[in-house]
């Protein structure tokens, strides 16, 4: 019998994998998708990647191997090596954000399970249907879509949708790393630069910079809405923790494991200590992303742990 839901997260390198207790998770996405120079990136160190897959399989967890979001021509050979290594090592799926890479993967490994990542810009059911023809078995729709739109795509295409339920949501990707400007000033060379806590702020708005990538400053949090997600037919949930600490991965993962199991049993109860843990790890605050059709930094819910009046007004949230 298939498990009722899957909770997964992201790990960039072998050190993060070995230093993190990943027991709350059913599956792990391996590799940093934003930059080839990321410290110890599993997508560049294939022996580490094989070892990581073996560790996860040994723990009874699924191993998914990610690929870069926006590769240029000279990145393609490495991606082909990564995918070949993933297949050889028994990875359960690869995640693809780039449609050219999807074509390459499908032609080389037509039976390989492919998960479509959030940067692939799936906005419509016809877009999802195209990717299904190329071997997609699961899709993370673009983060801008509402639950209503995601549900329509799921119904039309018949593929499971993966939802980011907690963590910092990707907001964009660049072709260049602007943090390199600070190597000398700060005396911090690449690849240590983007592992620092770097936030961009403007008034009450914040984004986290990870070099080429920009993430939401607030943590997306759907803790209050898990039953709704399950009732809506969703079963694949991600805690985005690539740029977080081992403690974040473990403690947030435990909260969601417990909460999902509770939701599965029909419980609406939310434990106070869950909120304590989530608030402890949310440096800037909480939001719901775009799932409710308003601005990504708004929070909807009775607990409102991250909302304030100005946000509600700005996003048109009247509750």
């Amino acid at each position: 019998m298939a498990p009722a839901f899957e909770l997964n997260t992201t790990i960039s390198n072998l050190r993060d994998l070995t230093e993190s207790d990943l027991s709350p998770y059913d599956a792990i996405y391996l590799g940093n998708i934003t930059c080839r120079l990321y410290e110890g990136n599993l997508l560049e160190h294939l022996d580490d990647l094989r070892e990581a897959i073996a560790i996860l399989k040994g723990q009874g967890q699924k191993a998914y191997v990610s690929t870069y979001t926006t590769p240029r021509n000279n990145d393609l050979p490495q991606i082909q090596k990564v995918v070949a290594a993933a297949v050889e090592a028994g990875a359960d799926a690869v995640e693809v954000h780039n449609l050219g890479v999807l074509k390459i993967v499908h032609e080389a490994h037509p039976d390989l399970a492919v998960h479509i990542g959030g940067f692939a810009n799936v906005y419509t059911d016809v877009g999802a249907a195209v990717l299904k023809r190329y071997g997609a078995v699961r899709i993370t729709p673009n983060y801008e879509l509402s639950l209503e739109e995601i549900g329509e795509i799921q119904r039309e295409v018949g593929l499971p949708m993966e939802l980011l339920v907690h963590g910092k949501m990707p907001l964009g990707i660049s072709d260049d790393c602007w943090l390199l400007e600070y190597e000398q000033t700060w005396g911090v060379p690449c690849p240590a630069l983007c592992r620092q806590e770097l936030f961009l702020k403007q008034g009450d708005w914040a984004m986290k910079s990870i070099g080429k990538g920009v993430l939401s400053g607030k943590d997306v949090c759907l803790l209050e809405h898990l039953r709704r997600l399950m009732t809506g037919g969703h079963a694949c949930f991600r805690v985005e923790a690539a740029s977080e600490s081992p403690a974040y991965r473990l403690e947030i993962g435990r909260v969601y494991r417990e909460a999902l199991e509770a939701a599965l049993s029909g419980s609406d109860g939310l434990k106070g200590q869950w909120w304590d843990t989530i608030r402890h790890h949310a440096r800037i605050g909480l939001c719901n992303g775009f799932y409710f059709g308003t601005s990504g930094m708004a929070y909807h819910g009775v607990q409102s742990p991250g909302a304030d009046a100005a946000e509600a007004q700005r996003s048109g949230v009247g509750q």
């Binding site: 590769p71 780039n98 449609l99 050219g100 810009n121 906005y123 999802a128 907001l171 602007w178």
Partner: protein, 302 residues
């Protein structure tokens, strides 16, 4: 023979582009294009532009680069049928699914995969060709060597946006503005008077790009603000490197800027016309005084 494809945000700009030597122009259609309602043409205006351009043997493309919501997709597909009736030479779209659907529905329609499709490698080029795109638009940040490899992919036209803003985040990979704010004054939905597709900023409909990446930001390292600064972005103009691109096999030289006024479009087009004509005649390209245009000529005005 390379084609010079030029933006036009009004009938006057279209005429200025044609007079200055554009081989083809692309326009927005009210309600269906990214960037909001400004710089879009009404149906009668587009029909006028089609007549004027075709009379001179030039082509017109419609940028239908809003990604519609599920319920709006049928409206867009039907609108394309209407445009074909008016004589449109091609459409520019921003979604892989739409490329496939339009190809299936309109087998003879010219379809371009927009720069928002983020075609950055030769496998992307082949992917969009296989879906049914006749052309793909590449950013001007790619190198001539990369573009030469792309040009080896058979059966697809290579367009390069040689005059464009290289923003902090890649075009087609940014949803920062809608994270902050949705458009509070939502326009009417399609089907009502003045209506438009209600897309996000990425999708381009109701959403408005607040140009947040062009505003000052405080950079915090840990708890300390270390600098207040603008995020990196730049105006690209390949005018002095055009020969390299054309030698690499670029089919279409494309300029960005439906917001440009007619008096800015004309000199910009004349420069590129001059350079392309020189290349075609086998002559050295004229050396322009500056590689980047004057600030008033740039989309960002900085």
């Amino acid at each position: 023979m390379p084609v010079l494809l030029v933006p036009a945000g009004s009938r006057a700009a279209a005429q200025a582009a044609l007079d200055a030597g554009a081989d083809a122009i692309y326009v927005g259609l009210k309600g269906f294009s990214r960037g909001g309602s400004r710089n879009e043409l009404t149906a009668p205006e587009l029909q006028d532009v089609l007549v004027a351009a075709h009379a001179q043997g030039r082509h017109v493309q419609a940028a239908l680069n809003t990604i519609p919501r599920q319920a709006e997709r049928r409206d867009l597909v039907e609108k394309v049928g209407e445009l074909i009736g008016w004589g449109i030479d091609g459409v520019i779209v921003n979604d892989a699914g739409l490329v496939a659907e339009l190809r299936s529905r309109y087998p003879r329609l010219g379809i371009t995969a927009s720069i928002g499709c983020v075609v950055m490698n030769e496998a992307d080029v082949a992917f969009y060709r296989d879906l049914g795109a006749d052309a793909v638009v590449l950013p001007g940040t790619l190198t001539p060597d990369e573009i030469a490899a792309f040009a080896q992919v058979p059966g697809v036209v290579i367009e390069v946006m040689v005059h464009m803003v290289d923003e902090f985040i890649l075009l087609g990979r940014c949803w920062m503005p809608s994270y902050y704010q949705m458009n509070q004054a939502l326009p009417a939905p399609l089907g009502s008077s003045g209506g438009r597709l209600l897309g996000s900023v990425k999708r381009g409909g109701a959403g408005v790009c607040f140009k947040i990446c062009e505003q000052p930001w405080e950079l915090y390292r840990g708890v300390r603000c270390v600098v207040t600064r603008l995020l990196p972005s730049r105006q690209i103009s390949a005018i002095n490197h055009l020969a390299d691109l054309l030698n690499a096999g670029v089919d279409v030289i494309k300029l960005q800027g439906r917001s440009l006024a007619p008096d800015l479009v004309a000199p910009l087009v004349r420069r590129y016309r001059l350079a392309i004509d020189a290349w075609m005649a086998g002559e050295p390209l004229p050396a322009f005084a500056e590689s980047c245009l004057e600030p008033s000529w740039t989309v960002m005005r900085r």
